[in-house]
């Protein structure tokens, strides 16, 4: 009898604790990336991508190399993020701007870049796997946030991709609390109809 | 099961017999009697003459807490994220009276039940002998005593009109 009670109570407490931790987790956001002049991305091969967090992509595209090591501006590829609600997915043409000439240092990289060229020449776009998928009844105008928080604010939600070889879901952007806590901090509107319509 | 408290257990059919016995015992200074009855009965209560049960305090405290909680919850929650509906004030008394009331009743009732249980358990005497007829049609009176007192008490019970007297040692 007493045992039963303790088991029951224990589980109850546990669930509560978990709930609160989860809640905090949603509220905690990754800090904006520190400006680091000498970021060197680790050497990895496409075969390692399976071991990395996040969905495996058709091409082992490395944000840590592009955005981190070579400090390519986010908006070079995500071209519409500061003007539109949509960040924009770089066209294959954008990739080829560089990869016309850059062929890759090691064999793995060469293989991946070959895929890019192949796709461009054959005219069949690469089908990237989505990492962040905001529920359809919530509207997130990227440009408003970029303009308010600066060009590097991406990390606020997407984490510091300059250090992530393979992009994974850093924050659950579908947790409304994740948005609200930030809106509360910055004392900006949390009127429902700003996002939900 | 641990041994029973030594003492005398008498069964009564007649109410006045039982009350006589109780009064006699109390006269002799036996205060910690246990009286079983199939239904609550005023004569027995008078004979025993216990103070009023403190359960009502539980009710009072529970009720007040509930009422307070009701109003606190509604006001805090509607102010925590102010949303205007129907041009009414954000936080306002009239509609919240309902919730204050409901929570008052709820917590009042629950704490009353709690009180009943706690009180009965706290004051319960342990290991007192019991007969199944006491929930049926008989009144039982148990008086704890040393072995040497037993005979005298049994006599008292019989004289009062007990239909059956047993001595638990």
């Amino acid at each position: 009898m007493r045992k039963l009670a303790s088991v029951f109570g224990g589980t109850l407490l546990l669930t509560l604790a978990v709930a609160f931790l989860a809640r905090d987790a949603t509220a905690s956001r990754q800090a904006a990336p520190v400006a680091n002049d000498s970021l060197v991305a680790p050497t990895l091969t496409a075969s390692d991508s399976a071991a990395l967090k996040g969905p495996r992509q058709p091409i082992f595209f490395r944000h840590d190399i592009h955005a981190g090591q070579y400090k390519i501006n986010c908006q070079y590829c995500h071209y519409s993020v500061s003007v539109s609600s949509e960040p924009g997915i770089p066209s294959m043409g954008t990739c080829m701007n560089c990869h016309l000439v850059i062929g890759g240092s090691d064999s793995s990289a060469q293989r991946e870049i070959a895929k890019v060229r192949e796709s461009y020449n054959s005219g069949t776009p690469v089908e990237w796997n989505r990492v962040y998928f905001l529920a359809r009844y919530a509207h997130f105008p990227h440009m408003r946030h970029i303009n308010a928080l600066g060009p590097n604010a991406c990390a606020t939600c997407h984490g510091d991709v300059t250090r992530t070889p393979q992009v994974f879901k850093v924050n659950n952007v579908n947790n409304m609390g994740f948005c609200i806590s930030c809106h509360l901090e910055r004392n900006v509107s949390r009127d429902c109809s700003v996002c939900h319509y | 099961m641990a041994a029973m408290t030594p003492g005398v257990l008498a069964s009564f059919v007649h109410i006045d017999a039982a009350t006589d016995a109780i009064r006699a015992l109390k006269a002799q200074g036996h205060t910690d009697l246990t009286v079983y009855a199939p239904a609550p009965n005023h004569e027995i209560e008078e004979a025993l003459d216990h103070p009023v049960s403190p359960v009502r305090l539980f009710t009072l405290v529970g009720g007040l807490t509930g009422c307070a909680a009701g109003f606190a919850m509604t006001f805090w929650m509607s102010d925590n994220w102010p949303l205007l509906v129907g041009g009414k004030p954000i936080a306002t008394v009239p509609p919240y009276v309902v919730l204050g009331f409901e929570l008052m009743i709820l917590m009042g009732a629950l704490s009353t039940v709690l009180g009943m249980i706690v009180m009965s358990v706290v004051n319960a005497r342990k290991r007192v002998p019991f007969s199944e007829r006491f929930t049926d049609d008989q009144i039982g009176v148990f008086v704890p005593c040393r072995a040497d007192q037993a005979a005298a008490l049994e006599g008292l019970m019989q004289r009062a009109g007990s239909v059956e007297v047993t001595h638990a040692a």
Binding site: S80, W128, F133, Y137, S193 | -
Partner: protein
């Protein structure tokens, strides 16, 4: 929400198909990947498409012959909405329900998905374009000139090419439109010796008399007519023009008339001539050559024709005097609804009337030369040749004669005699079904093309997106066939259709002396075409043949005691609208019936015959019969029954096929008439004693004096009275306070509470308070706003069975209330566009247990779909009943592929079990706010225009910030005619209605 959202096409779903802009028909594979969440990049970034930002392309509407200009809103390379092109002179930025529904012909799930060839067993099978083209080429060259083309395409580069092509092939072209206004052209020929359609200036006409011309629905250029009519008939500065309608049935035009006379069918000509007679008799200033008509007109003195016309002599005289004394006036005739055998004479008589009243050259402008086809006679002639076996190859383009002609005409039989038939149909319609080869053309939004709807207007079409299916522009097909056929056809240009069209335009550009052709071309593309000022009206004089005009009323065939007068449906037009859910669900403006055809019977007639609404009646004529449920309509003569045209398709895709009855089935074969006399046969009514619930959106058609649709006499309005004051004046009492002191106290309390609330959270500070005014004096009930709302807000069409349960989802509905109508008083109709009133004290908000309905800081009545649990209390508590509930997962049924491509990515597709309603197009508000924020400027008046306001051809709807005293909406709301519906409930709506204004006794 989420699970049911999946099928919804929205912002992110668009992203998944981004890339396919470069990848042609991969489009479907792209967006049919429903749950798989892929990001497909462009191959090469197109510079005019930024994801998340709409791009607008100018184009031209092909849903009727008007040739209105379009602005096609595209997102991520998908057309998602059609709006009017403000630069276009015909529609000036407005668009009717039919035009907007053009989007559903682009994305119609029933479209032919590629070239198809008839098999021996009668079925169709896919075939490669090359084979199809080769086959046609072979047949054409073998035909030895026995080639005929029926084309519904308007005048333009294509019809020029078609003419050249056919000529080279030695064949003939018939340019055929079912509603072709042949009687008007015949009459113009007879009276003025001009074979062309003039333009009519409703905007400047101070009095309009319509002899059965439904100019607000299907007559010539409805949008242009409505714009003009609303401008002159809409009340302003104490005046408004006046409309008198003479017709056996009260059409939408009749409903908007200040007076409607249910004249004897066929008497129109006599009445018009009688009016002319009065004018000539009483007025000296008539044009000199008109005086010659006095003799001919003598026979039509009011007293002579009064008894057979349904009007009294005095009424005719009054009309005539008013008609001539209010200048300029305008008489119009030639509507489908009164197109009887004598229609040409009616138009001729009306020409004379206009002439003697001195309107010709003022409100009737010849030389405009509106779009018109070759007329029915040409088609009939072709049919005779087909019957005679003189046609070897028949090409049907943009036309469906098998449906558009009465079965008795036997066109199908004639087609059967043609050995080889080709169709370019978008959808496999009745005619295409009889063809041997189908080479589906690209939709007008998928191809380069142009139109010349009238003198001085060249209107462009450009491909706004990749073709949805494997289709080609008809012009391209012609050129390819020509190339393949060689011979005489080899003379045609060798390039592609696109090259050909652009070459034509460059030639045109040069002819206009454009220096830098490239920049000129860009300008033209942006403008949507080249619009010259309308030519000065060409002076016309009476022709000798004017003397032969006769007011004889035509003979009606058949024995029945009721005359059958079909009505041209403003939604389905000639039937081409029947495959578009938007048009089927948008209630008929007159009867408010959806998804069904019906038979209109006058209530008194119904009482005599013991007919109740919904009883299925069988109308029997000499030539056929049709069955449809009865609808009791006080706006139709007691001896006339009416049924809508456009229903009863036998083969026109899943939506149209088998829906309703085809009114044409009753008509006799027109033989060698010059036009198809729709009103020609008498019918008998047979009761079947079977009943069917009528799918109408009308609950009660009387407003029980609840002041929902207010109206006031012109005199009162002119004196600046409010509707209420006008009422009390009429009632003879002073205006009294509607609220008791206690109520006033409560109202004050509400106001105070809101001030307190405004000091909390998001409500702190100044916010715009969005509001709207709707001018009932302008609203004609055309329902363009309804379709606009469906298109903008992803509103699902629910279909007949659900409408029968009253579950239609139209956020914006047009209520049609009757006034009067019994014991002698005239029947008056009032239209009220009813949508969420966004009340300041919204009753729907406080009852929601989860704050899904709440009040936003900017004065909207917010509805958070994803928070809604669906208690539906809000709808119960809404006095206006403008909240709509998703009883089923409508979003899954309503948008079968590829219709889901039309969905607006900025608006949530609502899931099953949630409440939805008008949001004042909050997505547009937020969009505008985002833009303004990026540009670091405040919102300006006019930055936000709701879909309904944008579409309204009458410009009856104004939207804006009520807090800004300078805004148009604030100024218009200050109009004394302004009132709120259900004022006494103190819900304080954000929508102000401006009372309708009636011509009182002064008429």
């Amino acid at each position: 929400m989420d699970e049911t959202q999946e099928s919804g096409m929205d912002r992110r779903r668009f992203l998944t198909v981004l890339g396919v802009t470069g990848a042609g028909t991969a489009a479907l594979s792209g967006c049919s990947t429903d749950r798989v969440q892929k990001l497909i990049p462009y191959m090469v970034q197109s510079e005019d498409q930024v994801p998340g930002i709409p791009t607008y392309y100018a184009s031209t509407c092909t849903e009727c012959a008007s040739g209105c200009g379009l602005h096609v809103k595209t997102r991520e390379a998908r057309a998602i909405k059609l709006e009017g092109n403000p630069a276009h002179p015909v529609n000036a930025g407005k668009l009717c329900a039919r035009g907007q529904a053009g989007l559903q012909s682009l994305y119609n799930p029933n479209r032919v998905r590629g070239p198809r060839k008839r098999l021996a067993d009668g079925g169709f099978a896919d075939t490669p374009w090359a084979d199809g083209v080769a086959e046609v080429a072979a047949r054409v060259s073998a035909a030895g000139g026995k080639v005929a083309v029926i084309s519904g395409a308007g005048r333009g580069t294509f019809s020029d090419l078609l003419a050249a092509w056919t000529a080279a092939a030695g064949g003939t072209v018939v340019r055929y439109q079912p509603f072709d206004h042949e009687p008007m052209r015949a009459a113009n020929q007879q009276v003025f010796g001009v074979n062309g359609l003039p333009s009519h200036d409703f905007a400047s006409a101070r009095m309009v008399v319509s002899f059965g011309a439904d100019f607000l629905e299907t007559w010539l250029t409805p949008i242009e007519n409505q714009r003009g009519f609303a401008a002159s008939h809409g009340y302003h500065d104490g005046t408004m023009s006046r409309l008198v309608a003479l017709a056996p049935r009260m059409s939408l035009t009749g409903m908007n008339a200040d007076e409607w006379f249910d004249i004897v069918p066929g008497a129109e000509a006599a009445i018009a001539l009688s009016m002319a007679q009065v004018i000539l008799a009483e007025r000296s200033s008539a044009p000199p050559d008109a005086v010659a008509l006095r003799g001919m007109l003598a026979a039509y003195a009011p007293d002579q024709i009064a008894q057979q016309s349904g009007l009294t002599a005095d009424q005719i005289r009054l009309l005539a005097r008013e008609f001539v004394s209010t200048e300029p006036s305008l008489a119009v005739a030639g509507g489908i609804g009164s197109q009887h055998a004598g229609a040409a004479q009616v138009c001729a008589a009306v020409n004379i009337l206009n002439y003697v009243a001195g309107n010709v050259g003022k409100t009737v402008r010849f030389g405009a030369d509106l779009e018109a086809g070759d007329g029915y006679a040409a088609l009939a002639a072709l049919q005779r040749r087909m019957d005679a076996g003189e046609i070897a190859v028949l090409v049907v383009h943009d036309a469906n004669p098998v449906y558009a002609l009465p079965k008795s005409a036997g066109f199908a039989a004639a087609m059967a005699k043609v050995p080889y038939k080709v169709s370019t149909a978008l959808v496999l319609d009745e005619t295409a079904a009889l063809c041997d080869l189908i080479l589906p053309q690209s939709h007008a939004l998928e191809r380069w093309d142009d139109l010349r709807p009238r003198a001085g207007i060249r209107s462009l079409m450009q491909p706004v997106m990749e073709p949805v299916y494997d289709t080609l522009p008809a012009g391209e097909v012609l050129l390819r066939v020509a190339k393949a056929a060689g011979g005489a056809l080899a003379g045609l240009p060798s390039g592609t259709w696109d090259d050909y069209l652009k070459a034509q335009w460059q030639a045109f550009g040069r002819s206009r002396g454009a220096g830098d052709l490239a920049s000129w071309w860009v300008g033209v593309l942006a403008e949507g075409g080249v619009y010259d000022a309308p030519p000065a009206p060409s002076a016309v004089r009476l022709a000798a043949s004017a003397q032969q005009v006769s007011g004889q009323s035509p003979a009606f065939t058949g024995e029945g005691e009721f005359l059958f007068a079909p009505s041209a449906s403003p939604m389905l037009y000639d039937g081409r609208g029947a495959d578009k859910p938007w048009l089927l669900e948008n209630p008929d403006p007159v009867t408010k019936i959806t998804w069904q055809s019906w038979i209109e019977v006058h209530p008194e007639t119904a009482a005599e015959l013991d007919i109740r609404e919904g009883e299925i009646l069988r109308l029997v004529s000499a030539s056929g019969s049709l069955e449809a449920p009865a609808y009791l309509y006080p706006g139709v003569r007691r001896d006339v029954v009416s049924a809508p045209l456009g229903y009863g398709h036998t083969n026109f895709g899943q939506y149209a096929t088998g829906r309703g009855a085809n009114a044409l089935d009753l008509l006799a074969a027109p033989g060698d008439a010059a036009f198809l006399p729709y009103v020609s046969t008498r019918v008998t009514i047979e009761k079947t004693r079977r009943y069917q619930k009528v799918a109408k959106t009308e609950g009660s058609n009387r407003q029980l004096g609840r002041g929902i649709a207010e109206a006031m006499p012109l005199a009162a309005a002119a004196r600046g009275l409010t509707p209420e004051e006008a009422h009390h004046e009429a009632a003879g009492g002073p205006a009294h306070e509607i609220n008791t002191p206690r109520e006033l106290e409560a109202i004050a309390g509400f106001a105070a509470a809101q001030k307190v609330a405004a000091t909390k959270g998001n409500y702190v500070g100044d916010h715009p308070q969005w509001g709207m005014t709707i001018d009932l004096a302008k609203c004609t009930g055309c329902s363009a706003c309804v379709t606009a709302c469906y298109a903008e807000n992803n509103i699902p069409t629910v279909g007949e069975s659900e409408v029968l349960r009253g579950r239609e989802m139209s956020w914006m509905r047009i209520e049609r209330y009757y006034e009067g109508g019994h014991d002698g008083e005239p029947l008056e109709t009032r239209f009220v566009p009813m949508l969420c009133q966004h009340c300041a004290n919204a009753p729907c908000e406080p009852v929601c247990p989860v704050y899904a309905a709440y009040h936003t800081p900017d004065g909207l009545n917010g509805q958070v779909y994803n928070r809604c649990v669906g208690t539906r209390y809000c709808s119960n508590n809404c006095p206006f009943k403008v909240r709509y509930f998703n009883w089923f997962a409508y979003n899954k049924k309503a948008f079968p592929e590829p219709l889901h491509l039309q969905l607006n990515p900025d608006v949530t597709v609502r899931a099953r079990g949630v409440m939805e309603k008008c949001t004042f197009c909050v997505q547009r508000i937020r969009g505008a706010q985002n833009e303004a924020a990026l540009a670091h400027r405040p919102l300006r008046d006019g930055d936000v225009v709701t879909a309904c306001a944008q579409a309204c051809p009458s410009s009856a709807i104004i939207f804006g910030d009520r807090m800004d005293p300078e805004s148009r909406v604030a100024r218009s709301a200050a109009d004394p005619r302004g009132y709120h519906v259900f004022e006494e409930t103190n819900v304080r709506p954000s929508i102000t209605y401006l009372a309708k204004v009636l011509h009182g006794a002064e008429a």
